[in-house]
Symmetry: C2
Subunit: 141 residues, 2 copies
């Protein structure tokens, strides 16, 4: 899903989140950058524009967004939680060289899920690790 053209204030309201300045800016950062940042990255990137910003607010806000279902945590590396404002089912690829996390369009519909009969699937997550196209080509030079 492409959130880049939504009205963020309205989107937050529609999802039962009062759009304070900090919440707007944090969600806007996720939507604009699509870089699956962690808490610290969000804080560091915003604190210059919002000098009074507290890291606690970033934690609180992401927790709220998670509860309201408008962000999802991306778990690829141990001891690193990244966040994604795109909550539709899609895959991720993390490059071991440049550390970047790419989105991967996915069609899981025809996947054989042998052994999951009578299981209720509420969430599906898939991710890959390896070397991205850019780093692969750069290394080949």
């Amino acid at each position: 899903m492409d959130l880049s053209n939504i009205n963020i204030e309205q989107y937050l309201r529609n999802n039962d989140v009062k759009p304070s300045y900090q919440r707007l800016k944090i969600f806007e950062y996720l939507v604009k950058h699509k870089n699956h940042p962690n808490v610290d990255t969000i804080y560091q990137e915003l604190v210059s524009a919002i000098p009074t910003l507290s890291k606690t607010t970033v934690y609180n806000t992401l927790k709220l967004f998670l509860e309201k279902g408008i962000v999802q945590p991306i778990l690829i590396e141990e001891n690193e939680i990244r966040y994604d404002a795109d909550v539709t089912v899609h895959g991720h690829f993390k490059c071991e060289i440049c550390q970047e996390v790419y989105d991967i369009p996915l069609d899981l519909s025809d996947m054989k899920t042998e052994g999951l009969e009578k299981f209720i699937i509420k969430e599906s997550h898939i991710y890959f690790k390896g070397i991205c196209k850019r780093c692969n080509i750069a290394n080949a030079q």
Copy 2:
């Protein structure tokens, strides 16, 4: 892959791990139980049999196993790392009721990985969250 009938001592040696008593017991626990435990569970389950066991040793040992590629970390929940001695590609399902983590046989070969041309995939991970068969049936009563 089924590790239940291997000679654990030999398996560790083959993978460049000296089979100390603690390492044997920790790996044996993973192989025998297949429950994808976290550090604390492993420690709690073994400390009665090995009263001198230190949690640091559990951390050290799992770190070594990871480096040697004979365990993989399972990341499903935020702030919880579980470990799996089965390092072949397979999926997992975590039940939100009983918290159990199930193995899911997977065939990712025919999955459409649009957008990954020229990417080198070294690891593939997939997991689901929801309600397991047992809890689903129990709830239906």
